[in-house]
Symmetry: C3
């Protein structure tokens, strides 16, 4: 990882925030689901930014305990009142349709209709996002105020959807590093018009990949743009051979709002990625949240299932589910901001910088200190009480490079800046007192 | 363990308290010691409540480093003054005799007598309880005020006791569970008229056994009604073959007073019984004491000797020895109360409930989450932020049932109620996603 | 270690302080360096107190990454002004010469001279101690005030030194204990007229050795009087066969000032010597400092290099380098005091007392408690709530002497005095219930 490109300069940050936001704006209107053309359109737009391998996994494919479902597509949906006025219109907001609704074309009275209407009484102006992937159903999501205003009468209900054999679509982008060891960066692409939950993760992952492509990397980075749950299950099921190479992973979502960062640890709880993200948050912020692993949330659930127990955590701003806008029409383009998106990206670049620089060295002269002076690495006049940080860095690295301590461990123990430690390590490598392992 | 009988309803609690107290009242007058008819009478009364295997171990039996002593019995004892008045009378309070006193029938002056009188100067109205099991001696325990009032003159001293070959008597009651793994519940039966120290443990153990007999149990429960020290040493010595089956154990004593509970940990310090009792105390009480193991106190000393190091802790209210009434006539029928006894029993039932429910499961579909929805185990409409506890319980159990975590470990990690976790585990077993191990 | 000689009586303490101080006074004028006659003279004086094996390691000997340097000796050095007055005179204070200065005999102007003058601007009256062991150079150390007063003109500069093949000299004194396991006590002998840094360590080590010689010891004690850095490297390099026997070690320095004690832990951080010194400091002082290992300071750096990682800590009063007098003319005979020196020696004797007494026992009757009463080791009248410390000591030792716990571990767990524990252990050994392991 070249040191010049790892952080975003402040002028770039502003532009980066706008770029991230613009991608969200483009993706916002699309009606995504766990299968169907919405995912394909989404991946097509991402492909303008990033080469993607798009995979289609046929309906009926067995993926562990699950089966890839029928593909869902939708053209239109509405409810018309007796006057023929569209009182609910999918084309105005795709959240209005219960995601994965089977087709319907009926006229019914209010009582019958009501069993298929979903609202949020606590936030009577907002429209909820609801799904019924695995249970055949149809429905509409509307504001609670609208529900209260609905009058008795007959309603024409139309959902022009299809649910039939097709495939599950996901995108994958691999950046090869010098090692075959992999870092998984995963985001979900199955939510319709929801900005923070889904689109912020997609946008940040896309631009993170673009930034990483500019760098010389040690690890290989595998970006997964997958439908939630069934997507990660599908990927893990079809890629069991790749799992042994996964060294670290981060699930990205909820990265565009103004909340402080929240990191949910991997199930292991003390994986290197956990320690690194904790360190980065401590370095950069006075306030942030650390959440112990729990088996709910996003795709970290699958990566951290006991049969895999991968070192995969989740980075978010808002914590999952704990904000009223979650899965409602209020998670819209106003809810995410360019500056929060670019700050999230910036943090991820710092995390990856540390991950990339998490190097171990071996002291090749481990018995007593080697003579640094004769190699021009130590001050010439002895006796002063002060020793500068660089000289202490040389000593710390030599003392702790026993195969058990990474440069970051040395950083924590020595309280020296990692940059000076890395410089010192490089100098020691040059004079053959140290080698990278 | 059937769930209906594990706790005592409040009406039963009152009755239970009275039953416990009544047993103490019946046992109180008996002059117990480490051997002799006092123990036999005590066990006979317990047998009205509980079938007991009564064992007689002959005097002279070698039990590890010890030898079963001569059996001690006593009919009467008194001190008469010159007027022939009984100024100290064993028949009024058996504490008056130094326990294990050899027979004596002499007239002596006050000076000679005084060497055989024991008092508590700090509590001048109380009569101490003193013993001389292993050193042949005789003596009387009286109040310090009485000692001060004694006038010079000659005293007739009579102890009508016998100390001769016989046996050490103890009672044992085994409740067989489905497993041969055992829980030891031990109390001492060697103290004469002392209520909290001795009788409270006996009463609570007796009624605990009665309650457990009503249940279907996983573990087998072995109740020991044994004289302190020599009794547990004798039992351990004669039952070394059974020791490998002991999984948990609790020594019971000092359970009738109003003090907060004190749990003395096993020597291991983190045995499952230690964790369970700690959890139960935390759940039920805001204030309680936890005492690290130390090699003094009651029979936990023997169970936790380094050659056994069994996972046996001690449950008490008052801490051992740290209250003025300890081993005095003030530890009488007023010192223990029905409600404290029944609360102690209730706590023990909760502890055993947790012990019984400390089960482990294995996720049979450990790679990714299994599809709960298709098995009717998950909500049908997706998208809501709330997930109910039952659904979280399903996920936690699947995630942590890797062979390393018990249901109670999962309870601690998930902060879900163990009942809901058990229900969830059962449901998962039914659909073959989980099996008990 | 016989118990009568382990501590110094208060009258002796005063005399001991004076003896320690007198040795420092004698050693103070000598111009020591890492090689040369100054070290030999120093060792000759120590030999009046202690038999020493003096080793000469020839210039050019390869010791790990280092080479034994040319030997440095100096007869005289001065700077004369134009009037022929000696304005700087090595004979008045040997710190005036940059240690390891090559010979020089020149007249030069002030500007040229100034490049070879070293001062401490922050402490303008003090003369610094500076060295140039590995880079050929010459120089003078003077007070900053003198530097400011120097007038333009020509100066005669003379350093009558030699730097030529010879040897590195160090002294070694081995006190054989009953075991071949060794404790290393190391101090540096390379600093010229500096009292706290160097001479206090030498004096305390010398008298510590004298005290230990009077005792029957379990461990063997190897005292090293070695030049800093190159001396310990040389010793380790030439004695790799002895390293496997080293069980503990302490580097001694800065032991004559009035500051509270500071212990710098070994790199291991929890070696027995670390625990023992921590315990001793806690026992004896309310205020003291504990410093985590860092790879700078004194010869602990070499003993704790990763190729050895020996359990060697450092005991000092002042912390290394963190006081203005460090490496200046102010570290003189006024800076160290007899009472601080003798207190340091006393602490070391206590540390070694604990090290020597860090014994383990094995309970030979580990199943249940043995019957102490029949062996006269337990009170005869039972029932009292108090148990005295001695009886608790017997129980604690029996309970924890399982091969895993030392007497000191038992001390920490039981909070009983180690003396009473040792008495109890001895009593148990006598009756064959315990054996030393």
């Amino acid at each position: 990882m070249t040191s010049t490109t790892g952080t975003i300069e402040s002028t770039n940050k502003e532009k980066m925030g706008e770029d991230l936001y613009r991608l969200i704006e483009r993706l916002y209107p699309i009606c995504r689901s766990i299968t169907g053309n919405g995912v394909r359109e989404t991946l097509d737009i991402i492909k303008e930014y990033l080469s993607l391998e798009v995979n289609e996994v046929p309906t009926g494919t067995q993926v562990f305990d699950w089966t890839v479902p029928d593909e869902w597509n939708i053209k239109d949906a509405y409810i018309k009142n007796e006057k023929g006025e569209k009182i609910v219109d999918f084309k105005k907001l795709n959240l209005h349709v219960l995601n994965y609704s089977i087709p319907v074309n009926e006229t019914m009275d209010l009582e019958t209709l009501k069993a298929h209407l979903f609202t949020i009484p606590e936030y009577p102006d907002w429209i909820p996002y609801r799904t019924s992937y695995h249970n055949k159903n149809w429905g509409f999501c509307i504001s609670h105020n609208q529900l209260l205003r609905l009058k008795d009468g007959s309603y024409e209900v139309k959902i022009d959807s299809t649910l039939q054999p097709g495939s599950l679509t996901y995108g994958e982008h691999l950046i090869k590093g010098s090692s075959s060891e992999e870092v998984i960066i995963s985001c979900h692409v199955c939510h319709p018009s929801l900005c923070n939950d889904n689109l912020s993760g997609i946008a940040v992952a896309t631009f993170l990949a673009r930034e990483l492509e500019k760098l010389h990397l040690k690890y290989s980075y595998r970006f997964l743009f997958i439908p939630g749950t069934i997507g990660s299950i599908t990927w893990l099921s079809l890629n069991e051979d790749k799992i042994k190479n996964i060294r670290h992973g981060i699930v990205l979502t909820l990265l565009g709002d103004k909340t402080k960062f929240h990191y949910k640890k991997s199930r292991r709880g003390d994986a290197e990625i956990d320690r690194i993200i904790l360190r980065q948050l401590k370095n950069k912020f006075t306030d942030f949240g650390i959440i112990d692993f729990y088996p709910y949330g996003y795709d970290e659930r699958q990566f951290c299932s006991p049969g895999f127990n991968l070192p995969v955590g989740r980075l978010s701003r808002k914590p999952h589910g704990e904000f009223p806008e979650y899965h409602t029409s209020a998670d819209n383009l106003d809810f995410v901001k360019p500056e929060h998106l670019s700050e999230s990206l910036d943090l991820l670049l710092s995390i990856i910088r540390e991950l990339e620089s998490s190097e171990k060295y071996l002291n090749l002269s481990p018995k007593c200190e080697p003579q640094l002076g004769k190699r021009g690495l130590f001050k010439q006049i002895g006796g002063q009480s002060e020793t500068n940080d660089y000289q202490m860095a040389l000593l710390w690295i030599l003392n702790l490079s026993d195969g058990e301590h990474s440069l970051q461990d040395i950083e924590e123990k020595s309280r020296l800046n990692v940059a000076i430690l890395r410089d010192a390590a490089e100098a020691l490598c040059k004079v053959n007192l140290l080698k990278k392992i």
